[in-house]
């Protein structure tokens, strides 16, 4: 799986660390790191939580062209 750079950019845009975002969505920092690195494919529930916290849509963060 490719790296999720869109997620990383959106998070950095809000000046959040992986740890901050992980705590807001209810996962560990390591899980957030794995999602950004493309090592873990999150469930739709977790994707929605991430989108809500970052103020983005699913397409903006998780759609691959």
């Amino acid at each position: 799986m490719p790296k999720n750079l869109k997620l990383k950019v959106a998070r950095a845009g809000l000046d959040m660390t992986q740890k901050d975002l992980a705590e807001r969505v209810g996962v560990t920092r390591q899980t957030m790191n794995a999602i950004e690195k493309g090592d873990y494919n999150p469930t739709i529930k977790l994707c929605i939580s991430i989108c809500k916290v970052l103020g983005k849509t699913l397409d903006e963060l998780f759609w691959e062209d």
């Binding site: 209810g26 996962v27 560990t28 390591q30 899980t31 794995a34 950004e36 999150p42 469930t43």
Partner: protein
């Protein structure tokens, strides 16, 4: 607020995989032991030692895998307490084993198989492996705190 004592979805998935590895390893050990037994090949003295090693080895592998795959959250006090207990037991066993092996001159191997003392020594090592793996992970987490990949 996220409760660290609860596993998240990735951790639950990984934990399932670790259990799977442990069961597969355990089955393989049983098959290997049955194979050796059927050819009258003895590898350890005493049924109790044999059972302990056969159970402890997959548990050790699974625990180390859980530590390094971030399924066990190393900073949790419950985990710390468990590891300190393991370390204490391993330390006491080490002193006892040291005494038996180096002072009372008990043999680790007898006639080509592990003696009862050798068995004790082996699961003492298993305990140390868990404690050392935890310490390595704990210090690497502390060192990389705030660092993002």
């Amino acid at each position: 607020m996220f409760n660290k004592s609860e596993l998240d979805e990735r951790q639950l998935l990984m934990r399932g995989k670790v259990y799977q590895h442990v069961v597969i390893l355990y089955v393989m050990i049983i098959i290997l032991d049955s194979f050796l037994t059927s050819f009258d090949i003895k590898w350890v003295d005493g049924i109790q030692q044999k059972m302990t090693i056969m159970v402890m080895f997959p548990i050790m592998i699974g625990t180390v895998e859980m530590i390094f795959k971030d399924i066990m959250v190393v900073e949790l006090s419950g985990i710390k307490f468990a590891i300190i207990s393991f370390g204490f037991i391993a330390g006491v066993l080490s002193i006892l084993n040291f005494n038996h092996v180096f002072i009372e001159k008990e043999l680790i191997f007898e006639n080509g198989f592990l003696s009862s003392r050798g068995g004790d020594l082996l699961y003492n090592i298993f305990l140390w492996v868990i404690v050392v793996a935890y310490c390595l992970k704990y210090y690497s987490e502390k060192k990389n705190e705030g660092v993002e990949d």
